[in-house]
């Protein structure tokens, strides 16, 4: 007797082969989607949002593309997820991780078709990924002790990262900028201390790194435009009307005169506060919240530069830069630490006025001003620069680096192939498949550059047969070359994360033999 149904109305269930098919197809579709953006000659994508205004983004960043997709296929979501994590964790390699996972699944599909159980494939993949990691570890270059060399390593990594992005034309310029900025952080990974300001106009080449700090705000009217040896009080306090915080308090009066009196008292209170602030002996006051006209006028009278409504990050960063603490009460001026900087002045970038703090005590924070033809260019430039900064800051902590240009993949593939030959049992097929998937990455890079991938990869493989070879694909000249000479480097941490997350994700998808989809939650239509 057939059972009518176990699940709710719109819920569905897919089993065995069909489930596996669905997840393979979904995952491969996603990986094919971003495949064409891989490598220095990768293409960009235009993303148009469905929201109001149909905002357009042009990007070549894998994580950004995947984040904005609406996906229904569960397996595809797994891939989107790993790319997001890659972005959070190391900041770069977001496309590679998806492409590698897609290739692993493509190979797995063939194996499943030839009647190899998914669990066997997983076991093989695990062994292979372990072996590949060891192979990389054997070949890492670590210049931790040699500051000069390490800096040039970083520069090369930054250039390699940037060359696939919109900034590739000026990659030396931006690489210098990124490395300088990261060195100022002194090993911290808190990228918030690097402020990126985007101003349309000019060309990308006009972008610059500023040692000081730039605040995108205007100076109040009638206040000094230039202060030398500034003492800065960074505050987070209400400078509009100070409300009474005792619960239940309210003003109830019975005559107009009393209203006036209380108003006067309120004004007096504000005046008091301003006086107290002035008593700190400052000549610049930066507040997170609004400053009303009345106190602003008072500050102007005292010759103090007052900046209102600096956002939260701005305040924190300013505190970090000038070494001042963020104050909210002003009763004991002697113990509040004030911030110092040599010069505050208003500067013009393009058409906009900005406030520039220079000669600060603590050099941790800095600002990068990006210039470019349009908002789209600037947005993409910011994303690219962010990738480079992430990779660099991670590399400062983990100083191991590798060569780039498909070199790591070939090294891994070679070791994995060795392992496959040594391994007995069905697992060896899976291990072999893993090495094929690894080789697919240089192949894709070459394909995207319009080169003869089959020829190049074969040549590369032959080169790698010799011990200690540094050969990789040089996309610019379209030939196989020595990566060390060309200065193409990648961070070990990024490659390792790509390898591990891609294996993990493909393993997860392979293990699934049934997909159960719940009925979508009904949205209440509010008409």
């Amino acid at each position: 007797m057939p059972i009518d149904k176990i699940f709710k109305d719109d819920a569905s269930e897919e089993k065995g082969e069909r489930a596996r098919m669905a997840s393979f197809v979904g995952a491969m579709a996603i990986s094919d989607l971003v495949k064409s953006t891989l490598g220095p000659k990768g293409m960009d994508k235009i993303l148009q949002s469905t929201g109001r205004g149909h905002a357009v983004t042009v990007t070549n960043d894998g994580a950004t593309i995947l984040k904005s997709l609406h996906i229904d296929n569960p397996a595809a979501k797994v891939l989107v997820d790993i790319s997001k994590v890659q972005d959070d964790e190391v900041g770069d390699g977001t496309t590679s991780v998806v492409v590698l996972a897609g290739e692993l699944l493509r190979e797995a599909e063939k194996l499943v078709a030839s009647k190899i159980h998914p669990m066997t494939i997983i076991a093989g993949y695990r062994m292979a990924s372990e072996c590949a990691r060891d192979a990389l570890l054997k070949r890492v270059i670590d210049n931790k002790d040699d500051a000069e060399k390490f800096r040039s390593d970083l520069l090369k990594i930054a250039m390699t990262t940037l060359c696939s992005k919109i900034l590739s034309q000026d990659k030396e310029h931006f690489a210098e900028m990124a490395v300088d900025a990261v060195f100022r952080l002194k090993g911290s990974t808190n990228l918030e201390a690097i402020q990126i300001i985007k101003k349309p106009g000019g060309t990308l080449r006009d972008s610059f790194l500023d040692e000081g700090f730039i605040l995108d705000k205007k100076i109040g009217i009638g206040q000094p435009k230039r202060i030398e040896n500034a003492k800065i009080l960074v505050a987070n306090t209400a400078m509009d009307t100070d409300k009474v915080k005792i619960y239940g308090a309210r003003v109830r009066v019975d005559s107009m005169t009393k209203v006036a009196e209380i108003e006067g008292a309120e004004k007096e209170k504000m005046k008091d506060k301003v006086k107290k602030i002035i008593a700190h002996g400052i000549n610049c006051f930066v507040n997170r919240q609004l400053i009303y006209n009345f106190p602003e006028e008072l500050f102007a009278d005292a010759g103090i530069l007052a900046i209102e409504h600096a956002d939260f990050e701005g305040i924190e960063r300013l505190g970090l830069v000038t070494g001042g603490e963020i104050a909210s009460t002003f009763d004991n001026p002697e113990s509040v630490k004030l911030g110092h900087c040599k010069l505050i002045e208003e500067i013009m970038i393009g058409e906009d006025k900005l406030i520039h703090f220079s000669g600060c005590e603590m050099g941790q924070a800095c600002s990068i001003v990006l210039r470019g033809a349009s908002h789209h260019v600037l947005d993409e430039a910011e994303r690219s620069l962010h990738d480079a900064l992430c990779v660099l800051s991670q590399t400062v902590n983990d100083t191991r680096v590798l060569l780039g240009g498909g070199w790591p993949e070939m090294v891994m593939a070679k070791e994995v192939d060795e392992l496959a030959r040594k391994t007995a049992g069905k697992k060896s097929h899976a291990i072999e498949a893993f090495s094929r998937a690894l080789v697919a990455i240089p192949t894709t890079i070459a394909d995207n550059a319009g080169l003869d991938s089959a020829e190049l990869v074969a040549q590369l493989r032959a080169e790698h047969h010799t011990e200690g070879c540094n050969a990789g694909i040089d996309v610019i000249s379209g030939s196989v070359g020595d990566m060390e000479e060309r200065g193409i480097y990648e961070a070990f941490k990024v490659k390792q994360a790509v390898l591990l997350s891609a294996t993990e994700a493909s393993e997860m998808i392979l293990r699934v033999d049934e997909i159960i989809t719940c009925a979508p939650r009904r949205r209440e239509d509010r008409m």
């Binding site: 569960p74 997820d81 994590v85 959070d88 915080k245 009393k258 924190e316 505190g319 992430c390 993990e504």
Partner: protein
């Protein structure tokens, strides 16, 4: 059928609006119910064992779970059928009671139902089948007791515990690093266990996860981890020898419960009110400082002014800490939760060796470690992993492992896994069947057959020949009269589960058999299903 006639021949209705209801009676009802139960069991069957597959579940909001934990799969499935819901309940109660074996119990129940169907076809009354099952389950449970072995371990020698946890973890996706995770789970349980009373309060173990890093980075923290950072960005990030004030009152002027209003009608009143307000803040911070606190953990938020005052007086603070975490902190540091500033005393402060803030990855994610607590009873398992799904699955796996370790501390008996226990029980039940006169004998035999289905599923999932393997193991058990032979799922080359170190807890196994029998009995007893038809 729902129409009856009274003594005058007038019809009256027993079931109202009968055309809107569908009704199944008698053997049809039982058959339908059994089919539904079997369907649920069939879904889980392929997840059993170390080579079991996972299920991908897409929730109503498009969120995805990938798991092979039986309880989780059933929980997230959008089940509509009433009998299927019973099966879901069954797995849930196994989860609550034991925490592990949630898949096995459902597979077992499915097998029992399948056997029952065959007996029904023979014309045996469902109640007789139910009774036969009941007798058989008693035999099986007694037999388990007989073949169980006692494990000796103490706080220093916990290898056996680790082995058992590894058996549990080997069926999960985390089996890549089962050894380290099993050790973490066992150490966590031992840290909070009361070995004298044989009791473990699992509430003291917090499982936290953060996306990123590797699974291998998962660690056990002897202390508390909270997903918060210091309230002021410039407060110290590292405090040694912290004295912690745990507050449930906000750093704000008090709000009396009774309704009141403060009317301001003169300038003087306005001034005094202002003064008082400032005083409040000052006093609050002063009180904390006076009792010697070096860290304030507050359940509520605080005002910017208070925040600055705290920072100013060099008193780091954490705000918006959840109630559960607050309690854990209080337990771990030996402090008391203080609801009012007036009640702060030095004795009520918690103590911790180190409190530090740690940041992760490229985004601004910070967490607060509270370690070396005065009372080391609370621990945290901190999971790292490639993505959210992985973390969630690891959390579930760790939960299972923790439960297993706890069960072993409660009851040191174990049975051998890999289907060995089921095969042994099946043999015992089969032998016992001959002693029962009457129809129940058949039901008892059916029970024995149903027990075989668990090792059968294990063999099937591992890619072995199910019938061949099972019969080989069975004959081996009988020949050598040793109940340790099971299915060699990992292709190690031996059937001896002692050598493979595959253990399960005795209470877990017993509970599985009892719960499965109970539910099957319940399903068999239903002979009338009345449900509202679709409209």
């Amino acid at each position: 059928m729902a129409l009856a006639f009274d003594e005058f021949g007038r019809p009256f209705i027993i079931l109202r609006e009968q055309d809107q209801k569908t009704r199944l009676r008698g053997i049809d009802a039982q058959k339908a119910n059994i089919a539904a139960g079997k369907a649920v069991a069939r879904i889980l069957r392929s997840s059993l064992g170390p080579k079991g597959m996972d299920k991908m579940l897409q929730g109503p909001d498009g969120d995805i779970t990938i798991t092979n934990d039986g309880a989780t799969i059933l929980e997230q499935m959008d089940v509509d059928n009433q009998i299927a819901k019973l099966m879901v309940e069954l797995s849930r109660s196994q989860d609550y009671e034991i925490g592990d074996g949630t898949t096995g119990v459902v597979v077992m129940a499915g097998a029992l139902l399948e056997q029952a169907e065959r007996q029904l076809d023979r014309g045996i009354h469902p109640i007789r089948i139910a009774e036969g099952y009941e007798m058989a389950s008693r035999v099986a449970v007694d037999h388990l007791e007989r073949i169980a072995q006692k494990f000796e371990f103490d706080a220093n020698n916990f290898e056996p515990l680790v082995q058992t946890c590894m058996t549990t973890l080997s069926s999960k996706i985390v089996n890549r690093c089962k050894r380290s995770l099993a050790e973490i789970a066992v150490k966590a349980v031992l840290a909070v266990a009361d070995l004298e009373r044989r009791d473990v309060n699992l509430d003291l173990i917090k499982v936290e996860g953060k996306v990123g890093g590797k699974l291998e980075d998962t660690e056990l923290i002897y202390g508390i981890l909270i997903d918060k950072d210091m309230s002021h960005p410039q407060m110290p990030k590292h405090i040694e020898d912290a004295h912690i004030a745990i507050l449930t009152c906000p750093f704000e002027p008090p709000k009396p419960k009774t309704k009141h209003k403060v009317d301001i009608d003169t300038v003087e009143k306005f001034e005094t009110l202002r003064k008082q307000e400032q005083q409040y803040f000052d006093e609050m911070v002063q009180k904390c400082k006076d009792v010697g606190a070096t860290l304030v953990i507050c359940q509520w938020g605080f005002d910017d002014e208070a925040n600055h005052l705290l920072m100013h007086r060099n008193l780091p603070a954490v705000r918006w800490v959840g109630g559960v975490e607050l309690e854990l902190i209080a337990i771990a540091t030996g402090g008391r939760i203080v609801p009012r500033f007036q009640e702060l005393t030095p004795e009520k402060l918690g103590k911790a060796g180190v409190v530090r803030e740690k940041s992760f990855g490229t985004t601004k994610e910070r967490m607060l470690y509270i370690e070396h607590c005065a009372n080391s009873k609370a621990v945290t398992v901190f999971i790292r992993g490639g993505n959210k799904m992985m973390i969630e699955e690891t959390k579930r796996s760790i939960h299972d492992a923790l439960c297993v370790a706890r069960n072993l501390i409660r009851n040191k008996s174990i049975v051998y896994g890999g289907g060995a226990a089921e095969i042994a029980c099946s043999l015992a039940v089969d032998a016992a069947a001959d002693k029962y006169p009457g129809v129940e004998q058949y039901a008892i035999r059916a029970f024995a057959e149903a027990l075989d289905s668990v090792p059968m599923a294990l063999a099937e999932n591992s890619g072995l020949q199910p019938i061949e393997t099972l019969s080989a193991v069975k004959s081996q058990q009988i020949k050598e009269n040793i109940p340790f032979y099971g299915i060699d799922c990992n292709d190690v080359g031996t059937n001896d589960m002692r050598e493979q170190n595959v253990f399960e807890t005795l209470i877990g196994k017993q509970q599985q058999i009892l719960l499965a029998t109970q539910v099957v009995k319940m399903i068999l007893k239903i002979d009338d299903v009345i449900s509202n038809s679709e409209y």
